[in-house]
């Protein structure tokens, strides 16, 4: 097979964003009739590389060759004309229109009134040829997620795509639909199409692909024939070779169990199972890290713990009291604090003052409030103290929170949540997007808090952070805990395999 000429070559692709290099001289080759898997953690640069190929981003450096000819791809339309099409994670379909209408929508060479009979006939032919069962006359809202994905693929084939890019195609599918998709991909390659798919699931790499390329922090770390590698090797490469730096932690005696989850189950917004039986516990003074690729149930785990989402089974005990399906306020009143993953969308009220944002948890209690009337000077005093203690850089306490930098917004949230915390802290990605100084500050505050006896659940995508801050690390994969390892024994290979769904 090596003698075949590649249908697609990307050479030295570099894509920079402010403060981050998403792709650093990445090379890629794709052969006709083959499937290439792009494997990597969140932020490894898979999606940005594919967005360059699909014409959504423009590379800062590098060249792209199709069938040996150098090409410029400046827009999705250019990409389409070259036979490159991408199926995004969120489908781009219009619910209230039919499959056929969606498939031809936006095509440039359509007559003013398209002959829908003809279009439907062509779609039926293609669905037969590629084994993509779907009725061209049904409406998108009538279709299951798996069928909608087939429409997306058909849309690309209809427009003559030779190279299909699939961005985490199985993330939204049920296991049965995933199996069907694997059949579809197999069929397509037999018909001469090529595919690249982005993934972080090891099983898919093994079953779907001919070749695998592993990205880590924007760089290409390896190219392997899928047959000639094995999950352990890929896992280690994906997570990175670097030795994890460890802080010497004093052995500490933890207190009573503060949080205990038994077989907790919950659905996501689409009604699909997102948590499939989570069992874990955290003792006072202990930090439990949750590792895993985003989208494996982290959001839902935080939400059931903070009263924002209903469980469908299992028990959640906080300080030995059943707290599943209680309101957020009841959970706050038991002393649980929460640093939300999306700090702007859930953590602050941007058009309110920093002072008001700081007291957003404790305003309910005296001395800040008396008979329903707030005490502004006491609120301001408290705000001043918190601003000093957490070194929040704000012109005045009255400044609207939206004018603060990301790091200072996070410090504001941290100050509020730690001040109100009485024993359990749920922290989701607390240092994400922060600079080195602010990251350090946030981590140290959490460690100090745990030493004062607080139990902390720390969700992070940064393994370095988990190993340095947490005492134990639980790995979440597809709504299940794949394993819990003490951070002193955690190594990248083990974590990487658990994160990609390989049992150790």
């Amino acid at each position: 097979m090596e003698t075949k000429t590649p249908i697609l070559e990307m050479k030295g692709i570099t894509k920079r964003f402010p403060n981050v290099v998403a792709n650093d001289h990445v090379d890629l080759e794709l052969y006709p009739g083959e499937v290439l898997a792009l494997l990597g953690e969140n932020g490894a640069g898979k999606s940005s590389l594919m967005n360059v190929l699909a014409g959504l981003y423009r590379a800062d450096e590098g060249e792209i060759f199709i069938r040996g000819k150098r090409v410029e791809i400046n827009s999705p339309r250019d990409a389409m004309l070259l036979g490159i099409g991408m199926v995004h994670q969120n489908f781009m379909l219009v619910d209230t229109m039919t499959v056929a209408e969606n498939i031809i929508m936006g095509m440039s060479d359509l007559p003013f009134i398209p002959d829908m009979e003809d279009v439907s006939k062509r779609i039926r032919e293609l669905s037969k040829q590629y084994n993509l069962q779907v009725d061209p006359l049904s409406y998108i809202w009538q279709l299951s997620v798996g069928e909608q994905q087939r429409v997306e693929i058909l849309k690309l084939i209809y427009r003559g795509a030779e190279i299909l890019i699939l961005d985490e195609p199985t993330a939204v599918l049920t296991p049965r639909e995933s199996k069907e998709l694997s059949g579809v991909i197999h069929h397509m390659t037999q018909e001469g199409k090529s595919a690249i798919f982005i993934t972080h699931k090891m099983e898919e790499v093994i079953t779907f692909s001919d070749w695998v390329r592993v990205l880590h922090k924007g760089r290409l770390v390896t190219v392997k024939k899928t047959r000639e590698t094995h999950p352990q090797e890929l896992a280690r490469l994906m997570v990175g070779r670097d030795v994890l730096f460890r802080l010497e932690k004093k052995a500490r005696n933890f207190g009573d169990v503060a949080l205990e989850l038994k077989d907790v189950r919950a659905l996501d917004d689409k009604g699909l199972p997102a948590l499939k039986g989570i069992t874990l516990n955290i003792r006072s003074g202990e930090i439990l890290g949750i590792a895993g690729v985003a989208g494996n149930g982290q959001t839902q785990l935080v939400e059931v713990l903070t009263g924002l989402r209903k469980t469908t089974g299992g028990t959640i005990r906080i300080f030995d009291e059943e707290k599943a399906n209680k309101s957020p306020l009841e959970i706050i009143n038991t002393g649980v604090s929460h640093i939300p993953a999306d700090r702007i969308a859930r953590g602050i009220a941007g058009d309110m003052s920093v002072a008001n944002n700081l007291v957003m948890k404790c305003y309910r209690k005296p001395p800040l409030v008396k008979k329903g009337v707030l005490h502004p000077s006491r609120i301001l005093d408290l705000a001043h103290r918190m601003i000093d203690l957490f070194r929040i850089d704000t012109p005045t306490p009255q400044t609207h929170a939206k004018f603060l930098s990301g790091g200072n917004i996070q410090k504001t949230i941290l100050a509020r949540e730690l001040d109100a915390c009485r024993g359990l802290l749920i922290a989701a990605y607390p240092s994400r997007g922060l600079d080195v100084g602010a990251t350090e500050f946030v981590r140290n505050q959490m460690i100090a808090q745990s030493q004062a006896g607080t139990a902390i659940l720390l969700i992070s995508e940064d393994l370095e952070e988990l190993v340095t801050v947490a005492d134990k690390i639980a790995v979440l994969f597809e709504g299940r805990i794949m394993g819990i390892v003490p951070s002193s024994e955690a190594d990248t290979e083990k974590l990487g395999m658990l994160m990609t769904g390989v049992k150790v």
Partner: protein
Amino acid sequence: MRIVFEKRKTLSRKAIFLVPLASFLISLLLTAMLLAIFNANPFITFAAMFKGAFGSWSNFTETLVKAIPLMLTGLGVLIAFRLKFWNIGAEGQLAFGGIAATWVALFWSPFLPSWMVLPAAIMIGMLAGAFWAGIPALLKVRLKVDEVLTTLMLNYVAILFAEHLYYGPWRDPKGFGFPGTPPFPEFAWLPRIAGRAHLGLIFALVLAVLIWFMFKRTRWGFELEVIGNNPSTAQTQGIKIAANIFMALLLAGALSGLAGVCEVTGISRRLQQGLTIGYGYTAIIVAWLAQLNPIAAIFVAVLIAALLVGGDQVQMMMKLPAAMGLVLQGMLLFPMLAGSLFTEYKLRIIRSKTAGPLSLARDN
């Protein structure tokens, strides 16, 4: 050289005052141009409008007469708008309040001591307004029904119901066919304090201060502020969103209902045609121009009322259409809304070709 918008790092105190003022001047300028097209001298016209609204004690009290319902409905609308609940239904809430007050004034006097009839009319009228706002509020928080549609549609229901009553079952048999109920007994009249301006003025002033205090200083106001600003944050902080929005809308409806009570008991002293002449819609302009500040709403209501009364004067004195007052209202709103951009952004002139962002500068 290019001109770009740049987001201000902090809210400028100066801009909060200067921008509305400049907007007002621009709207006067625009209206002046329009008047010039009609061959009317803008200065004389403006002077006539001003005199019509404030030129004499009786003119001033007439301006207040129109300002009172605008104040009350304006407060009702701004409470809802602070929660991003787009209450277009102040007109219907006003009408329903008026209907309920009429019911009490006409039919309860046999069962109540006469001194209690007016307070009862006020109470029942406010409850009716609250009820009328409560329906769309409940639909919104329980079933996510769009409140713009429901509040608007309920306006027609209330207005037509009032019409049905004074054309039909409640029509004054001695009214020579005039569409209206019999006049209220004298003890159900809202006392007047200056000209036709009635006690409703005091209600509005006191309520504006109370609402200002509620938003600024109370726990409930704080929670409403968080909900209006970022519902997801409110939810995360354990603030009950549905119940709070519902309660706030009951209050908003009660205020508009009170406006209706004051109109029927203080001005017409019966339910008749002319109760719903658009105060509830103008209230939306009042609320926006006041930037949802209850104290500012009082002054804005007087300003808008002055435009209405002054517009009538222009009609009489300058032989211009009375609609000129309405045109000026519209002219006022546009620069103000456009102007709000300048309280958040500032203009920056860029001389070199390369520096600076292309369009709206993003949040730093």
